[in-house]
């Protein structure tokens, strides 16, 4: 067997490993509870959409998705808005305390969410943000902003500074240069950063659950509702799980080319 066939076999095996558990979730979401708990079947015998119907007909269920999407989008926007100028400063200028500040930012990526649970709850309650989408979006900035600055700084350092200088000589103000010339140059970087911010905010549960109760409750917290007095409603749980994968799939579809082109561009 030659080298490239071995590679193909290897990657196929790995993809199979990745997909099997997801296949099982999908399989289960189309079964009735009786069938799930009955014999082990490899595909649904009585194919049913009932589990999905439960979710789409109940506002507490589908509002969970809306809530999650809202705070995740807010988080991505805030993260990019503050991280872009900061990353530019770190990649272009030396200023008092720059290295210390950069390391301090990174330390926040290392802070275990469990450490911040209680103080966060108190802080956001005292400023009246408890149970709002903004509270979760801001809290998630704690780990997303440092990572975003880190990634963007790498991409920006890959752009030669002669471009900045030429633009200034041509009479561009900093603002127009940044928006019209610089941002398009690091498109891929912005795509990758947005993807990472989306990903970490979408999957995080501990903070999101602590900072919300009713109005902004994320879908992953609502899923615990399926555990009732009569046991777990596996079918609905599986359907809800499948639905949480779809937004992620859409995002990765849009940024796939950027991810391939180079997360590493500025860093290699």
């Amino acid at each position: 067997m030659n080298f490239s066939r071995k590679k193909k076999l290897g990657i196929s095996a790995y993809i199979l490993f990745v997909l099997l558990p997801i296949y099982w979730l999908l399989n289960m979401s189309f079964k009735s509870n009786a069938e799930i708990l009955g014999d082990l079947t490899f595909w649904p015998k009585d194919f049913t959409f009932d589990n999905y119907a439960v979710i789409f007909s109940d506002p507490t269920w589908y509002m969970g998705y809306v809530n999650s999407m809202t705070y995740v989008s807010l988080n991505v926007i805030i993260t990019l808005m503050v991280a872009l100028p900061a990353a530019y400063a770190f990649s272009r200028y030396k200023f008092a305390g720059d290295k210390q500040l950069f390391f301090w930012l990174l330390t926040n990526r290392m802070a275990p969410p469990a450490v911040f649970l209680l103080p966060f709850f108190q802080l956001y309650s005292s400023v009246g943000l408890f149970d709002t989408h903004l509270a979760v979006a801001l809290a998630h900035c704690l780990f997303n902003v440092p990572l975003a600055v880190w990634i963007l700084e790498g991409f920006m350092s890959g752009v030669p500074r002669e471009i900045d200088e030429t633009a200034y000589i041509d009479g561009y103000s900093f603002h127009t240069f940044f928006v019209k010339i610089f941002l398009p140059l690091i498109r891929s970087g912005i795509g990758v950063t947005a993807f990472f911010a989306f990903m970490f905010s979408w999957v995080e549960l501990l903070l999101a659950r602590t900072l919300t109760s009713v109005e902004a409750k994320p879908i992953s917290a609502i899923m615990t509702r399926t555990i009732g007095a009569s046991g777990i409603d596996w079918g609905v749980l599986a359907a809800a799980g499948v639905l949480t994968i779809i937004p992620g799939l859409l995002v990765i579809w849009f940024v796939r080319n950027h991810v391939a082109k180079g997360f590493a561009l500025g860093r290699v």
Binding site: W24, L40, I219, I252, R256
Partner: protein, 288 residues
């Protein structure tokens, strides 16, 4: 790149500084404040100095979960980093298969953590899950709910399944950044596949590996949701990691003082180990 000295750059950093200070410094001060006081209620708190730190440092629960945590994170890094590199090397480089592979690999990363736990909770069950059923029908006595070793193994496998893709995607993009000319030169020299990997690919991957190793260490060291959903930390305490011990203390028993002291110690450990990784890898770089 040589940078220009310019203290006005602070203006660009102020938004980040304010935002992170609001979400990080204020809560951290609260934690520090709790860690040195005995709190009865809102208006009754007494300064106790380092007592909670002494109590927490001598707590066997902390020692156990810390040891478990280090073994777990060590295993995670030892498996996921080499496997991730291998997967990245095997990924197709062009055509529709490249995009398809990329998207399929990224799926586990985009699933909320409690759903990951739920998936494996079902997948591993012998009666209704494919994995548990397959193992049992092959004669392996596997039951994550009653056997601590099985539970531990399941959490590790779940983490490998969940996160290897991150390392693979990082490495894949790192590999894409290597100019074709390097490979052509290697072919002229008749370099072996191993030599190409060792002298061209691996050095080029180093900067993304720093990101990969740091992210994997930090996140595996903070693992909470997945084992919590799978078995709630059991059976026994076999999958009770640091975050869980902490949450039990703070929310379960409401021991605010000791929990705060524990939090700070926990934070310092993550900080110290990450800093060690970071400096070791960057120093290796300079030594060359």
């Amino acid at each position: 790149m040589n940078k220009v000295e310019n203290n006005k750059a602070w203006l660009l950093v102020i938004p980040v500084f304010l935002l992170v200070a609001f979400s990080a410094v204020i809560p951290l001060m609260t934690v520090v404040n709790y860690s040195v006081q005995d709190i009865f209620d809102q208006n009754n708190a007494y300064f106790v100095g380092a007592e909670w730190y002494r109590e927490v440092l001598n707590d066997p629960r902390l020692h156990d979960s810390l040891l478990r945590q280090f073994i777990f994170s060590g295993c995670v890094l030892l498996i996921e980093i080499p496997l991730g590199i291998a997967v990245a090397l095997m990924m197709p480089t062009r055509g529709w298969t490249a995009s398809a592979t990329l998207i399929l690999l990224a799926i586990p990363l985009l699933i909320p953590w409690n759903v990951i736990g739920t998936i494996w909770q079902v997948f591993g069950r012998a009666d209704i899950g494919l994995f548990g059923w397959a193992l049992n029908s092959m004669g392996v006595d596997y039951n994550y709910a009653s056997n601590p070793m099985d539970a531990w193994f399941t959490v590790l496998l779940m983490d490998v399944w969940h996160w290897t893709s991150l390392v693979a995607l990082l490495c894949y993009s790192g590999l894409r950044a290597i100019p074709e000319a390097y490979y052509q030169a290697a072919r002229i020299d008749r370099a072996s596949n191993w030599a190409i990997f060792r002298y061209i690919q691996l050095p080029k991957l180093k900067s993304v590996l720093v990101i990969g190793i740091l992210l994997r260490f930090m996140d595996s060291f903070m693992i909470y949701t997945e084992p919590f959903v799978l078995t709630g930390g059991g059976p026994g305490n076999s999958t009770t990691f640091l975050s869980q011990t902490l949450t039990q203390m703070a929310i379960g028993q409401f021991d605010l003082g000791p929990a705060a002291a524990f939090s700070l110690i926990y934070f310092l450990i993550v900080l110290l180990v990450s800093w060690l990784f970071f400096t070791t890898i960057t120093h290796l770089d300079k030594a060359k």
